[in-house]
Each structure stands twice: as structure tokens, then as C-alpha cells.
Amino acid sequence: MSQGTRTSPPSNIGRVLPVSWLGPASPKRWLVGRAPDGWRAALLVATAYYLGAKVGFAFTFQPHPISTLWLPNSLLLAALLLSPVSSWRLLVAATLPAHLAAELQSGVPLAMVLGWFASNSTEALIGAVCIRRFCAAPLRFDSFRDVGVFLVFGTFLAPLLSSFFDAALVAAIGWGQGSYWQLVRLRFLSNVLAALIVVPFIVTWASGGLAAVRGTLSRERAEAALLASCVLAVGIAIFDRQDAGSGTPPALLYAPLPFLLWAAARFGPRGTSTAILVLVLLAIWGAAHGQGPFVTSSPEENARSAQLFLIAVSVPILLLAAALEERRKAKDALAGSEERLATAFRSSPDPMAIVRLADGAILDANARWEVMFGYSLDETAGRSAEDLNLYVNDEDRKASFERIAKHGGIRDFEVDVRDRAGTVRQAVLAAETVAVGGVPCYIGTFHDVTAQRRGEREAKEQSKQLTHLTRVALLGQLSGALAHELNQPLTAILSNAQAAQHFLATDRIDLGELREILGDIVAEDQRASEVIRRLRTLFKQGETQVQPLDANDLVREALALAHGDLIARNIEVVTELASDLPAVKGDRVQMNQVLLNLLVNASEAMSPNEPGGCELTITTALTAEGVQVSVADRGPGIPEDRQRRLFEPFFTTKPQGLGLGLSISRAIVTAHGGRLWSTNNPDRGATFHLALPGHAEGRP
């Protein structure tokens, strides 16, 4: 009691009510701490402080001038706990006028009044600072640990320290009677009790109390009303009806306990703190009016035994309420997360199943899973993917299961699955291990990618067909030259054979000559076969076969194919081939196609009528980009506006052109991780460059 001694007359108990003013005030607005709210809060706290002081005067045992229940310090502590630190200064300052107004009425010297203000605010600040420091979240009396922190710092340490200070001030100023230690003890107990009943009550109600009441069911409200009436009835019966405390059976003191436990178990910290408040007020009221079990000897002793009893009851009940609340919240959170999980599982657009890790048994599956695989949950439950033969490749099933068990999950695992009717689908499996009811399981999701893969396959097939089509068109362009390539060996074979016939007809048979002729026929036949083989390879629509290739070999092959065409066009070919090139990885046929396309384009760009206009230079080199093949012509070059469109599909400058050659060539090169581009030569003509990443390992 900030106020070791009080001589003011007892006041109406009704004035206790102001504390409840703090209830409706929204804690959120307090916490925002904006100026208007800050001032409103300050006004509210000042008013409460003043009324609390008046109540304190009212709870003074007559004739002994000591307040049994000094509320202002605890009111200030509750306000500080509910407010941001930035507004503490304002709140403390606001209580000064209230303090002066209340204290000066009772004729206490100003020095003492100011001293008490100092000790009162110190107590509230010590409590608030320590609680802020040691509680992880704002104190809401819903965690066992936080209530412990509140009890240690808010209700024990802060009153104790400030009581030493307060008693020292009283002694120094020389106000009142009583020894130093007596003052310490009186003030300490009084403030402990006040903190125990006021702070939990205000904090729990100020933080969402009204909203909570509004959200209750009528059944809960009826129960609360019943509890309230029971608490009131018991409190009044025990503390305010009996006359002499000496005759009270001690067991009756414990009559309120079941109701406090009821409050703790059913109504959380808010209900519990309210019940405690009511009982304490009744007990103190009774004791102040000479009623109840605590009226035994001197008022001072009455007060002390009442305080000790109430403290002893309140502390465990508050802790119990917090512990129960904590458990309830954890349970709610768990139930909430489980419910969300279950909802996600049921409503997932992808098929999902819960599988027991021990034996692979499917414990649960969602509707999508049932649709995808064609098994109902009843048929599935307890059977494994192996039993149902869901995986097309049993190796996939084993591999995925092992990886899930080993790594706790799996991502992007592509599998072929089979439904009940035997239809095979492609799916991407993702899984995560979880404990379901304590049983290690995994939740697996099958994302059906059948349609996606089919689309990809079709696109690939179309691209392959287009590539093939342009290759056939390219060979069509070269048909005359290719016929030449076949006609040469055919001519040699026929003429050799007929020469042999002539020799044989003359009877002048030179066996050596005949042997040479036959040797040449065989060689020329092989040469013709080679031309046919090469053509067949290019005409064939084969699968892409990636292998290490020598860029120089590719150039030579393309030149061999274009040989006839180049000669017919009277084009002079210059090759500058670098030695020691690393291998490039690619499909031989597709690379032939690209180079052949470049050679044909280059030779078509040149006109034999231009002097010196028929030189085609092919260069291979090792650059930063890898292996580069450049085909340079001596034609007119490429105008700037065509340079960009050159590689677009269906862009052509030739009357018979499809306009696909370069766009397909670029697509092929890009698919090989390379680049195809064109530049104009400084003097005349254009050069097409083909860069492919080199692979050091394995020369072709």
C-alpha cells in the first residue's frame, strides 16, 4: 500500500467497479499507440488510478489504518503491459495528477505523497519491464511459463523491491508509525494480492474479452451464469455471513476451491481471474466488516491471514488455468492443422494416397485416386501397390519406395502406372513421410502427365517429320547432282565391262588387264553403293542418334554429297580445316542436313557470270563457343532487313524454296546446344556460322 497508513473513511464498495472500465477498451487501439488513443488511454488510466486509490481507502480495516487491497499500482502495471513501451512515459505521467488528487484529500504531506508516487510507479515499471523481457509473447495468462514469469516478477519481485524503497521513504520523511520491516511486510502482502487479482483480470478481459463473450454459445453462457451465482453464493456464505471467525470450521475455507477449479477447467484464465477477483473482494469485504473466518484477533492479523490465504489459493489456480489453457490451445492447433491437412487431402485435384511404410499398404486414398486407378477405397484399403499391380515397372515401385524410406520423401519421380482396366498412364510421383496416428506412412501424390507427355511426343514427332521433310526437299533440289554422282560409277562400270568384252572378242587376252578391269568394276560398284547408302540415310526418317562427331568429317561428307552440284555450278571450293578439333556431340544425319543446306544456299547465292564470284570457302576452327564451321560465299550478301527474317519459317527468296531450310537448320543446331547465325563479309558475300559445344572427352 503505497501508503503505509491510511486514515480516510471506508467508501462504498460499488466504487470498485471502475476497474471494469478497462475491459471494454480495445487493447488493439492501445497497442497502436497513436496520439489520440494514447491520450485516451492516459485519461482512462488516470481515472482508474484515482478510483483504485479510493477503493484502496475503502478496504482499510477499522480501526487499524492499513489498506488491505491497494489497487492503483496493479492498475498501472496492467495498463503498461497492455500498451506499447513508447506510451509508458505518458501513462505514468497521467497517473501523477490522479495520485495527487486522491492522496492530498487524506491530508498526507506533499513530500510523502510524491514519495509514494515514486515507489508506486517504480513497482509497476519493474514488473512491466521484467515481464516484457522474459515473456516471449504479450502476457495473456494462457501459458504456464508466462504466468510463472508474472508471478515471480510482477507479483513478487516488483512489490518486494518497491516495498523496501517505499518503507525507506516513509522512514526518511518520518510519516506514520510502525517499524521499517513492519511497513515492508504490510505493503508487500497488500500489493502482492492486488497484483494477483487485478492484473490477470484486466489483461485477460482487455485482450479480446468482450469479443469472446459475444462469441459464446447460450449453453456456455448459462454455465457461466451458474458458476457466477455459485461463486457469489459460496463467497457470501463463507466470507460475509458468519460472525466470529473463531467458530468457523477450517474446512469451510476450502468451499470456494471447487468453483475456482470449475472456472479454471471450463472458462480459462479469463473466467478464473474473474472468479478469483470476486472471491477476494468478498473475503476482504467480509474481513473489513468483521465477518467471515479471518476475524480472529487484531485487524492487522485479520488482514494478514486473509491476504496469505487468498494468495495461497490464487497462485496455484492461476497456474492451473494457464496450464489447462495452454493444453487446450495446443490441442486446437493440432486439430486445426489435421483438419486442414485432411481437407487438402480430400479435395486435392491430384490423386493422393496414404501408404504405410512398414508394408506399403494403402491406408487411405482420395476420390481422385479412386478415379485414376479405378479402385474404390474399400477395395484398396490395406492392399499395397504391388498387390494392385499399379506400377507398370516393378523396379519403379521398389526404387520409389526405397527412396521415400531413405530420404523421407521423393520429388518429380516419373512412373508409368496402370489402372484397374490395364490402361497405362504417365504420372509424376511426389511423396512425403508423415506419422498418421503414430504409424510411419507416406503421403504420395500422382500427378497425371499422360496428356502432357502425349502432347510433347506429338510436338516432337511433328518437328521430326518437318525436319525430314525439309531434308527430302533439300535432296530433291540436289537430285540432278546426285544422279551425276551415281552416273559416274555406272559409266565406269559399264565401259569397263564392255571394254573387257571387246578384249575377249579379239582372242588377244591380257589377263593382267582383265584383272585390273574387274578390280575397277568392284571399286566403282562400291562407290555407287556408298552414294546410295548415304542417300538412304538422309532420306530415312530415323530417331536422333547422338554420338561424337568430327566437324571436319561432317564438312567432307557434306561436300561429297554436294560435289556434283558444286561442279555443275562451276563453284570452286576452298576448305580451311583446323586440325585437333574436339569432338562435337550430335546426330550425323541432322548435321549433314544443316551443312548441306548451307552449302546449297551458298552456291545458289553465287552467279557464274560474276568474275571471281564462284568461290565457296569452308572453315573449321576452335572458338570460345566451341567448334565453329563457317561457310562463306561470294554472292551479293544479305540485306540488313532480311538478315533478321532469314531464319523465320516460310521466309524465302527463292522461287522454288519452301522457306524452311534455315529455320529447321537453326532448330536442329539449337537442339544440339549450338548456334547458327549469319554475317556479311567485309568485301562481298555472306558467311553462315555454325557453333557447336566441343566435348573434350572422346575424340570421334
Partner: protein, 212 residues
Amino acid sequence: MTRGGTVYLVDDDPGVLRALTRLLRSSGREVQAFASSEAFLTAHDPAAPGCLVLDVAMPGKNGLELQRDLAAAGVDRAVVFITGYGDIPTSVRAMKAGAVDFLSKPFEDSQFLAAVEAAIDRDLDSRRSSGERRAVEQKVASLTSRERQVLEHVVAGQLNKHIAADLGTVEKTVKVHRGRIMRKMGAGSLAELVRMADLAGVRPTPAQPRAA
């Protein structure tokens, strides 16, 4: 058995070159084979009788270019073209430029050998006719300028007295010149003299218009 005239064979394809050489030899032809136009030009003797078998498409100077260059140099060598392409525009160009034949590879030996034979015959013919012309030209060159003048008038079919009037002399003197011309030219008749003069490129002097 070797028949008259060498076959000069030019083809860039060594296999074809070897086979055709054999085929020609098997039919008794003398053959010289070259892998390029340039090699042929280096070794070629325009005076030697024979024909040219020429591939159309070759690196460097191609067949058509070689034909053109030979003609420009005044070399009249009968040419048989052979080609693996067989496109019509090229063959038309070759034939217009005087080729004997244009064969698409592959070809039958009979076809090829016949073409070669025709080419050699044409070469021999042209050689023969050019030999006679040279002889006549020499005879014309042996005439005096007066005799030449008289010849030009004679081949134009003028009478002696008209010739004398034109040249400012008497008919008798013209008769003497005429006798010498017949002797020097070795002509047995006027008709023969006219043919020889034509072969040697002697231009007839047309008759002057005369007053009646």
C-alpha cells in the same frame, strides 16, 4: 590394230577416265587421257589428227569453256561431249558450238564408239579439205598481180574483150595471161578453175556496165 586419229579424252573423274580409255583402246583407238582441261591444253598438238571426248562439268575450265577457247584459237577439233547431268540447255549450247555429239552417261559402247568415229572422220575430212585449199592458195600466190586480176575477171565469167577493155589492154594479151593462169593453176577446164578460185577465196570481179 590402231586406227587413224588420236582420241583426246578429258574427264575429271579418274574412274570414268580409266574405263573410257580402256573401251577406246579395246576398239583399236589411240587414246590420250587428261584429268582436266588445263592438262589437255598443255599437251595438245593441234596439228595431230584426232578428236576430243570432253566431260561437260569439271572443276576449273569446264568442257564448254574449253570448246569455246579452242574455237577462239582457230583450232578446229571435232568434239564429242559426255555428261552425267544430261540437261537439254547445255547440250543445245554444245551442239550449236559445233559438237559432233552429246552423250549422257552412262552410254552404250556402240553409241560412244560411233560418235568417236564420226568425230574422227570429221576431223580427217576437215584436215583433208584444208590441205587442198592450202595447195590452191599456193598456186594462186604464184600468179603475178596481172594474172590475178585476169583470174578475178575470168571467174566472174567475163569475155576476153571485156576483160581487155576493163584492164586497158588488147584481147590478145588477155588470152596469153589466161593460158598462163590455166597452166600455173593446173586447171583442166574453166569449171575446175572456178572451183579452185572459190576454194582459195578469190573474189570474182563483176562485169562493168557498158555503153551499148
